[in-house]
C-alpha cells in the first residue's frame, strides 16, 4: 500500500541513454557511505535517471539530485563532523534542552528535524522537488495510516526531514495533515519504487548489524532495542527481495558503526570505500552487456 503525497512530477530533464535508477537506504550515520556510491557515479560519468531515498539515503540522494557532487558532499560532511566542539557550537543553542537531549532516552523526540536539516544542509538544497536536476523521491511512513508515502513534490527539506524522522530521536513531521516518520519503518531500501522507471536499478543497503561486545554475555537494554530495530529493517528487506530484487544490491561494510557515529565519518567513509569499485564494476558490466 503506497500513496503518493501528490501527483508524480518529473522534474528536470531525464537523461537520454541507458536508464539507471538509484535507491539509497536508511541507516543514520552509516548512510554517510552513500557518498562513496555517488562518487562512483561521478567517476563513471553516469547520472541516475531517478533516485529514491529513505532517511539518510533521502538526505544524500536529495543532495545529489540538487546538484552536489559526491566529492562536494564528502567535503561538506568532513568539515561538518571534523570537530565535535565546532559542531556543537554551530547548533547546540538552537536545540530545546541542549544537545544532550539528542541522546537522552528519557526525553526522546525533542529534535525538530526540519529545523535541524535547515541548519545543517547546504543552501543548494533549499529548493522544491521541481528544481532538482534529477527526479527524486523521498520515502516516509504515515504513522497513523501505517503505509508508505512517496514524497516527490513541494519543498525538499521538510520531505527529507520526514523521511529521516526516527521516532526515538526526532519529532514526526506533519505534511499535508499526515503524521510522517522515518521511511525505514516501511521501506528501508526503496528500490521497488523506482524499478519500473529504469532499465537497471542499483540499491544501497546500509542497515546496521547488532555487534557482540566481547565483555558482555548478553546485550544490554539499549543494545537490544537498537538491535531489534535493525533486525526488523533487515527482515523487511529480506522479505522484499523474495518477490522483487534490484539488478545490483550493494552493502557497504559499515554495519558495525552505530546510528549516531557521525563523528566517525572518516572511518565510515574509509570502510565504505571498497563499495566504490563494486558500484563501478556492476554499472560498467551492465553497460557493456547492453552495448
Amino acid at each position: 500500500m503506497t500513496t503518493h503525497a501528490s501527483g508524480l512530477v518529473t522534474p528536470g530533464s531525464a537523461p537520454s541513454g541507458p536508464r539507471i535508477a538509484l535507491a539509497l537506504g536508511g541507516g543514520s550515520a552509516r548512510g554517510l557511505a552513500h557518498v562513496v556510491v555517488l562518487e562512483a557515479f561521478d567517476e563513471l560519468g553516469v547520472k541516475p535517471c531517478i533516485i529514491a531515498g529513505t532517511s539518510m539515503g533521502a538526505i544524500c540522494g536529495g543532495a545529489y539530485a540538487a546538484g552536489l557532487s559526491g566529492a562536494q558532499m564528502r567535503a561538506e560532511i568532513t568539515e561538518l563532523f571534523a570537530n565535535r566542539t565546532r559542531f556543537l557550537a554551530r547548533f547546540a543553542g538552537k536545540l530545546r534542552g541542549g544537545l544532550s537531549s539528542l541522546w537522552s532516552m528519557r526525553a526522546p523526540s525533542v529534535v525538530d528535524n526540519v529545523t535541524l536539516l535547515e541548519m545543517l544542509l547546504p543552501q543548494a538544497m533549499r529548493c522544491d522537488f521541481g528544481a532538482l536536476k534529477i527526479p527524486f523521491m523521498a520515502i516516509a511512513a504515515d504513522f497513523y495510516a501505517i503505509e508508505q508515502v512517496i514524497l516527490d513534490s513541494g519543498p525538499l527539506i521538510p520531505a527529507l526531514a520526514a523521511s529521516a524522522a526516527l521516532p526515538s530521536l526526532s519529532r514526526p513531521v506533519v505534511l499535508d495533515g499526515r503524521v510522517l516518520i522515518d521511511g525505514g519503518y516501511v521501506n528501508p531500501v526503496p528500490y521497488d519504487v523506482v524499478m519500473d522507471r529504469a532499465d537497471f536499478t542499483l540499491a544501497v543497503d546500509v542497515t546496521g548489524d547488532p555487534q557482540r561486545r566481547p565483555d558482555a554475555k548478553l546485550p544490554g537494554t539499549l543494545e537490544l532495542l537498537t538491535g531489534a530495530t535493525q533486525l526488523l529493517f533487515h527482515s523487511i528487506t529480506r522479505e522484499k527481495l523474495r518477490s522483487l530484487a534490484p539488478d545490483a544490491l550493494i552493502r557497504p561494510k559499515v554495519g558495525a558503526f552505530g546510528s549516531l557515529d557521525y563523528f566517525r565519518c572518516g572511518e565510515i567513509l574509509a570502510a565504505a570505500q571498497p563499495a566504490k569499485e563494486e558500484v563501478k564494476h556492476k554499472i560498467s558490466q551492465w553497460l557493456t552487456e547492453i552495448g
Binding site: M1, F143, P167, T221, T229, Q230, S235
Partner: protein, 334 residues
C-alpha cells in the same frame, strides 16, 4: 513430493467430528503481536467447533504460547478459561512476578545499569503456563514449530525439538521487556523480529494453510499531530512487523489469511483482553466461514455427479471411496 496422508480412520479422531470423514489436512500459523494475540484463542475455538484438528502448527511470540497450549492437547475452551483467569487476576500476577514471596526476586529481575528491569521469560513461563502444557516437543499431540530470532546472526531459528518452555520463552522474548534466552551460545529473542507470521514454515505440510495475523499496528486512538514519544516508540516496531508481513504476502499467500482487526490495541494491553476478544469476533466468523467453504468444496462439491441408485443412503464406507486427498490436492495445485 509425497507426504504422509491422514487416513480416514485418523481423521475420525478429531475432537467432535461434524463433517464428512474425508477432510483436507490443515496447517495453522499463529502470528506474533503481544496482547493482540489473545485473538488466537477464538481461532482455536473455530477448529474445535468444526471438529478439525490442525496437522501442524507454527507460532511466533504470543502465537507460540497459544500454539503450544493447543498442540499440548488443551481444548480452546480450556485455553480461554486459563487465559481469562490469569489475565483477570493481573494484579495477582504482577504481585507474583514482583514479590519475593516464594522465589528470590533476583530470579525474575535482572537489574541493569539504566534503571530498567528485564524479566526472565523462562521464569515467567514457569509461573504462568498451565501445568498441562507439554515440557518437551516430543510430548505434543500436534507437531509444532516455534520461531525465534538469533540476535547476532540476524536470522530465524525454528524450534521443533527439545524443551518446549525454552522455545516459547525465546520466541516471546520481546526486547526491552524480557531478557534474551541463550541456547547453545546463541542469543535468542522474539521471533517477530524475523518472521511475525510464520506460514512459510508450513509450505507443503498440509493441503490448506491458515495464517492468523495479529500484527495490525497500533498507532494509538488519537489523530494527534504528534504521537507521544512512548506511543511512537511502541508503535514503530509494530509498523515494521506489519511491513514484513506485507512483503511476505507479496511472495507467497496462505490459502486462508485472517487479518484480525485488533489494530487499536497495544502490544502490552493484556488487561484489555475482554475487548480484544470482542474485537476479534468478526475474524472468528470469517475463519469459520472460509474453513467451512473450503471443506465443503473439498468433500462434497468436487464429487462427480453420480446417477441415483436404488440403494439406501450412502454408508460411511461408501464415502471412503470419494476422490482421495492426494487426488484432491493434486487437483488443487494443477
Amino acid at each position: 513430493m509425497t507426504r504422509p496422508m491422514s487416513t480416514p480412520g485418523k481423521a475420525l479422531q478429531v475432537r467432535t467430528p461434524t463433517l464428512p470423514a474425508i477432510q483436507p489436512s490443515i496447517a495453522l500459523a499463529l502470528g506474533g503481536g503481544g496482547a493482540r494475540g489473545i485473538a488466537h484463542i477464538l481461532m482455536l475455538e473455530v477448529f474445535d467447533e468444526l471438529g478439525l484438528r490442525p496437522k501442524i502448527i507454527a507460532g511466533t511470540s504470543i502465537g507460540a504460547v497459544f500454539g503450544a497450549a493447543y498442540a499440548s492437547g488443551l481444548s480452546a475452551k480450556l485455553v480461554r478459561a486459563y487465559a481469562e483467569e490469569a489475565l483477570g487476576q493481573r494484579f495477582d500476577i504482577v504481585r507474583q512476578l514482583f514479590s519475593a514471596r516464594s522465589e528470590p526476586i533476583l530470579k525474575f529481575l535482572n537489574f541493569i545499569p539504566i534503571r530498567s528491569a528485564l524479566l526472565n521469560p523462562v521464569s515467567v513461563l514457569e509461573l504462568m503456563l498451565p501445568s498441562k502444557i507439554a515440557r518437551d516437543f516430543a510430548e505434543l499431540e500436534i507437531p509444532l514449530r516455534l520461531v525465534a530470532t538469533d540476535f547476532y546472526a540476524q536470522e530465524q531459528v525454528v524450534f521443533a525439538h527439545g524443551s518446549l518452555r525454552t522455545a516459547i520463552a525465546a520466541s516471546m522474548a520481546l526486547p526491552a521487556l524480557f531478557t534474551p534466552v541463550t541456547v547453545d551460545g546463541r542469543v535468542l529473542m522474539d521471533g517477530g523480529l524475523v518472521n511475525p507470521l510464520p506460514f512459510d514454515l508450513l509450505r507443503g505440510e498440509a493441503d490448506i494453510t491458515v495464517a492468523v495475523d495479529v500484527s495490525g499496528a497500533s498507532t494509538g486512538p488519537g489523530k494527534r499531530p504528534h504521537p507521544s514519544a512512548f506511543s511512537a516508540l511502541m508503535s514503530a516496531s509494530q509498523i515494521m512487523q506489519r511491513s514484513i508481513v506485507r512483503e511476505k504476502l507479496k511472495a507467497h499467500q496462505p490459502d486462508i489469511y485472517i487479518d484480525v482487526e485488533v489494530d487499536e490495541f497495544y502490544v502490552l494491553d493484556f488487561h484489555r483482553y475482554k475487548e480484544i476478544l470482542a474485537r476479534a469476533a468478526p475474524a472468528k466468523a470469517q475463519l469459520r466461514r472460509q474453513l467451512t467453504r473450503i471443506l465443503k468444496s473439498q468433500t462434497v462439491e468436487t464429487l462427480p455427479a453420480m446417477p441415483p441408485v436404488a440403494t439406501p443412503s450412502p454408508t460411511p464406507g461408501r464415502k471412503r471411496r470419494l476422490p482421495s486427498l492426494e487426488q484432491l490436492s493434486r487437483g488443487r495445485k494443477e
